[in-house]
Amino acid sequence: MPKNLKLKVALWSVGILVALYLLLPTLGGRMPSWWNTFMVSDRIRLGLDLLGGMHLVLEVDVDKAVEAQVERMSQELRRKMQDQKIRAMRPEAEAGGLIKVTLLAKSDQAKFEDLVQRGYPDFSLEQPKDLPDGKMLFTMKLTKQATSHIRDMAAAQALEKIRNRVDLVGVGEPDIVPQEGGRILVQLPDIKDPQRAKAIIGKTAQLTFKLVDDSVDPKSVTKATMPAGSELNYLYHRDRASGRVTKDPIVLRSRVLMTGDTITDARVRMDSQYNEPYVTVSFDARGASQFAQLTTANVKKRLAIILDDKVQSAPVIQEPITGGEARITGDFTMEEARDLAVVLRSGALPAPVRILEERTVGPSLGMDSIKQGITSMVVGLALVVLFMLIYYRWSGLLADAALFLNLLFILAIMAVLGSMESIRATLTLPGIAGIILTIGMAVDANVLIFERVREELRLGKTPAAALDAGYSKAILTILDANVTTLIAALVLLQFGTGPIRGFAVTLSLGLASSMLTAITFTRVVFDVVLTRFRVKQISI
């Protein structure tokens, strides 16, 4: 055998063995752990449409995050102005990242401007307006840089918090990936209760403490009679037996006394008296002292505990609470209490998140899809194999062998790509369709070659010469023909999402593989047969 041929045979044998090796984790069942250290690849990763699971695209409401931050800064500004004895009305935060400050005395202007310049570099100070009575109106505007910084931070924080929550819930192999535009992609394979997962992920969990305004009767108050600095809210009750939710009006002082941002821990406890679950939250040192201050100053008054703008409970402050712990009740079920604890532990989201896209596949559909995919593949493969056998006889068998090799290679590479952290390619249902499609298309390359060889044989050439001529004439055409489909596949790869990308991947792999096997593998086998076995005629 010519030396070249021996090398080629060796190369192909190695290639096939490597492919089989890469597929071992997929084919094998349970392996001892030492096995895994030798494995380069993992099982083939299945997409959500085959595994079942939930795919969510969330968007952080970054505008609200900016608003919240500006509000916080305006409150801080108020305290600082008080410290510096700058006489002014309370700073008002407005939409668009503005804080409006009305100085009561022109003489404080220099002090104020100085304070803003040193303490608030994120704001630009516009020309003040002179008001009657010697007042001055200043407008502070959040710079573009600062705005986008807050937005980015909000998106990043939301991502972290959501990751925490998903971790706490304990879903196997979640995928949480930031996307452009402040969006977050969350993929939870194999999830049993998608609704609950959505609730946990999407809950803003903003905890605030406000005082109840007992001076007004909540049932009879109207907009006109509402005292300044108070607002109307609702206390939600759920009847344990019927499950019906009722809401009672309650008037609160609008000022936020404290928020939940200092919470370090949240646990579920059972109230022995009423046999109801509740959640206790623990504050850190700063929060504990804040809480102690607020309860000391307001003993015997009612404290409203508000979760995402809904009043959960409004107990009376019996005595100052210095232990740094608060109790949140609210007619919870055990599950709700647990979920609330998760959400409080991970921290409030910097801004509400909205679900932009959801694709959830139930596990039964996943299984069915796998079955259908495999069935179509087996039947399609069988038909094509049979056809090639009948039409091209032994050469047809060779083409069929090439087909199986293609499959082997595609799956092996999928296994590798799936286990690479940076790519994490998955096999989806369209991906299986792509493989099946390449089964049909792969035949093309072989047909091109075989038809040419038949032509050459008809012209009277010897088998060896006919093969030579056939292959060389066909190669360029094969490359040509497949390049255009490849271009389409690559474009799909670039612009496609999710399952479609899976299709583009398998299509590209299949095309590349079929070109390779048709041009080199089949040739090597032909050559081996011709030289080794001295065949006079090729069955084609």
Binding site: E357, S376, V379, V384, L437, G440, V491, L492, P499
Partner: protein, 407 residues
């Protein structure tokens, strides 16, 4: 075994008028259908909305399900059967202004009241307006870039004039930038912007091919447009949904349909080199016949697997497979009956059928390749539909008669 005997010689070129008429009719049908339906039937991927796939244990029907959903007030919801098994249904709410968040869950809960545990929510897909917009944009960009890349590739490959291909790429880029700048000034959705880009790309490509005499490229692209249009038309006629998967199918068809065309063109060029006295239409016919075996076989095997996918693949894959099937059939037909004879329509390839009957004796030895359009008085009148093109071509070739040698 051989399905197509080696010496086969069907007259494809002769039947081309019929073929052009048939194609023309189908394309017209497509345009009318699209016009009447107000565009393709966009799925929720592009229009936004929500789809819930349900499986019921006991037989039921769409009306009953819709009734069960009445408490949610979904007059705009579509309920239809899904798949072949008979107990699966799709509830679809499209692009409403209502808040889609949580609608999937509400649907499940509401149905529980009527069916209790007798059903299962198999799949929920919700696409908000923002994501819908994104996906539309991505789909259109994908189509645009494939046209771009393929146009450049075809010009370069076919005519082996990479310089010209680069020139065309430049022209395309320039034209699209112009259109983009123009549109940026006007108001209008992003979608129309990208559609305009696609149309520009196509028009520029066709025009450039025409002007630069890239006849093969022109033929291939015309065949492409023909294939995609008819596929979209079939979907429109049958009122099937156009989803992301269908767009993927269309792109694949674009790539695949070119295969056949390239194969035939390669053969035509190969045969032209050793054609001797034969006229163009005879050469084309021969080439098509020679490659017929391969064409039928490849399309055949691809169709086999597609039929498997169509029957066995399950709901989502079914439509995709159907689109591909239509594309493959139309693509094969177009390579044989549209792309190949099309070359005859172009300036140098004006129909010169009379030559085939008059043997070499009647014509003096011609140093120039026989393909150059001659002003022979007995040249056949071009078809009425292409009269305008042909007369323009006549004028052009008249001017060039004393001119350059053509390949």
């Amino acid at each position: 075994m051989e399905l197509i005997k080696p010496g086969i010689n069907l007259d494809f070129v002769g039947k081309r008028k019929l073929a052009f008429a048939a194609s023309g009719f189908l394309i017209l049908l497509t345009i009318v259908s699209l016009f009447l339906q107000g565009g393709p039937n966009y799925g929720i991927d592009f229009a936004g909305g929500i789809v819930v796939q349900l499986k019921f244990k006991a037989p039921t029907d769409a009306a009953a399900i819709k009734k069960a959903l009445a408490p949610l007030g979904m007059a705009d919801a579509l309920v239809q059967r899904f798949g072949r098994e008979g107990n699966e249904f799709l509830v679809r709410v499209e692009r409403s202004d209502r808040n889609l968040d949580g609608l999937g869950d509400s649907i499940g809960q509401t149905l529980k009241k009527t069916y209790q545990d007798g059903f299962e929510v198999r799949r929920v897909e919700m696409v908000g307006p923002k994501v819908g917009k994104d996906l539309r944009k991505k789909a259109l960009l994908a189509i645009f870039f494939s046209i771009l890349l393929i146009a450049v590739y075809i010009s370069g490959r076919f005519e082996a004039k990479w310089g010209l291909a680069a020139l065309m790429a430049g022209v395309l880029a320039g034209a699209t930038l112009l259109v983009q700048a123009f549109l940026a000034g006007t108001t209008g959705s992003e979608d129309t912007g990208i559609v305009a880009l696609i149309v520009t790309a196509l028009v520029v490509t066709l025009g450039a091919c025409w002007l630069l005499k890239l006849r093969y490229a022109l033929g291939a692209i015309v065949a492409l447009i023909h294939d995609v249009t008819i596929t979209v038309g079939v979907f429109s006629l049958l009122d099937k949904e156009v989803t992301l998967a269908i767009v993927a199918a269309i792109l694949t068809i674009i790539g695949y349909s070119l295969n056949d065309t390239i194969i035939v063109y390669d053969r035509i060029r190969e045969n032209l080199k050793k054609a001797g006295r034969k006229s163009l239409d005879v050469v084309i016919n021969e080439s098509v016949n020679q490659t017929l075996s391969r064409t039928i076989l490849t399309s055949g095997t691809t169709l086999i697997v597609l039929i498997c996918l169509w029957i066995l693949g399950g709901g989502v894959i079914e439509d995709f497979a159907f689109a591909m099937m239509v594309g493959v059939v139309v693509g094969t037909y177009s390579s044989v009956y549209v792309a190949s004879p099309f070359i005859l329509l172009l300036p140098e390839g004006r129909p010169i059928l009379k030559r085939a009957t008059a043997p070499a004796l009647a014509k003096p030895a011609n140093p120039r390749p026989r393909l150059q359009a001659a002003e022979s008085p007995d040249a056949e009148q071009p078809e009425p539909a292409t009269a305008a093109k042909a007369s323009a071509a006549k004028k052009r070739s008249r001017g060039k008669r004393g001119g350059r040698k053509r390949k």
